[in-house]
Amino acid sequence: MDTEMSSNTNDGETSAVSMTKLRTLRAQLSVLHRADGSVALQQGGTVVWAAVYGPGDSTASKRLNDRAFIDVLFKPKVSRPANDIGATKENVSPLLRGTCESMVDIRRHPRTLIELVVQELTDDGGLRAVCLTAGCLALLDAGIPMTAVFCGVSVALMPDDRLVLDPPLKEQKMATALFTFALKSAESEVEMISCDTNGRFQFDDFKRAVSLAIEAAAEVFLFYREMMQRKLSLG
């Protein structure tokens, strides 16, 4: 469902913004019985599994005296070079770990390990953002204390200055720039907390992408509510 709008920027240049909807989100919670929390998440054609173990015991190398150690393991299906636009261990793990460390109440469980494992099953674009969303759902499923919820949204800047929200792989490959935003929501206010970008872009494009992502994130947080409502209203 595409709606195209033209807007005039300050210097008279016309740029078109395509407000595409986020692809369909489907998830199943507690898929893995040995994990404390887990989710199988599908966004459009991209499928990812995430599992959380913790707060549990850790080895001396992963023990911090005043807070929990968050270990994020991203398992790609295909090996890609380190600076690839797609998802690699080098770009997903730090983004996800940094986000989790600010969202999870790590001071409550010192000297413990919270392990988040994200497994790529199918990449049909926006994989890094889907990993962020799956990470949060798995943490919610495990009942790990958090100060806010977070999600990932990806936006692509196309060669004709069009912005595409949550691009499938075909569009992602043709993009000039790809933005992966991590957004948080506390008391219904959505804020961008971190982003990972690839490619060339003007700052104006970046600002447009941020506001597009913030609008789309509201949909993802509504999805979280529906999922948890469904899970917790039984029994």
Binding site: G56, G143, M146, L232
Partner: protein, 229 residues
């Protein structure tokens, strides 16, 4: 349908002048209460306390909980006990009924004990005991041999122990068994035969997401199957 809150949500509880006890899953930020776990808000009057009823599998020790622990080894004048938390708990040799320096309880690695959490702080390792403040065991202590230990979610155990749940009384009318429920998500069952023990275990695990009427049907189905019908 009860409202489910997500972490970061402001909770509709007024923080006025009256005493307010903030329980698990809820935290206080200035003058508001905020959820820290996804769950249903529960509250109790006099004194007013509120907490989040979240679905959790991993146990975090809380003082006063009665839990089932597994002895994993010795450490000086105490045993190390696995209660399912991030750290091993300790139970002193003297924390058993009738224990003295010369008369030690005869426990070995792998034994199960039903104990109460004495000390549970985030910066210290937990400590459990098998006696109360008067020195009596009151049901705590080593569990007999020959039972089955189940691992389940913390919510299931709380439900089994609640007065509103009819599962254990209904089951008790059909079968004879011994059961111990640890608040750390462990349930120990012992019955006359392996077949009955397994049937009870299946009923308990499958009842987690069923309501009361579905539970009596589940009990009927599994017991009939166990008896060969």
């Amino acid at each position: 349908m009860s409202v489910v809150y997500l972490p970061g949500d402001k909770l509709p509880v007024s923080t006025g002048k009256e005493a307010l006890i903030v329980g698990p899953g809820v935290s206080r930020a200035d003058d508001r209460l905020v959820a820290t776990q996804a769950g249903v808000l529960r509250s109790k009057q006099q004194p007013f306390s509120c907490w989040m009823d979240a679905h959790v599998r991993r146990y975090v020790p809380v003082r006063g909980d009665k839990v089932i622990g597994v002895i994993t080894g010795k450490a000086g004048e105490a045993w190390k006990v696995d209660v399912g938390a991030a750290e091993l708990a300790t139970v002193s040799f003297l924390s058993f009924e009738g224990a003295t320096k010369r008369n030690r309880p005869s426990l070995k690695t792998g034994d199960l004990i039903y104990c109460q959490v004495l000390l549970a702080m985030k910066d210290m390792e937990p400590e459990v005991v098998c006696i109360d403040s008067e020195g009596k065991s009151r049901g705590l202590g080593a569990l007999p041999d020959g039972g089955l230990l189940l691992k389940c979610s913390l919510n299931l155990v709380r439900r089994l122990l609640s007065a509103k749940c009819a599962l254990l009384p209904t089951l008790g009318k059909e079968l004879r068994f011994e059961i111990t429920c640890g608040m750390n998500g462990r349930v120990w069952i012992k019955s006359n035969s392996h077949k009955e023990t397994i049937a009870i275990a299946q009923i308990i695990l499958k009842s987690e997401f069923l309501n009361e009427s579905q539970i009596s049907e589940l009990i009927r189905t599994i017991i009939d199957r166990c008896r060969g019908f």
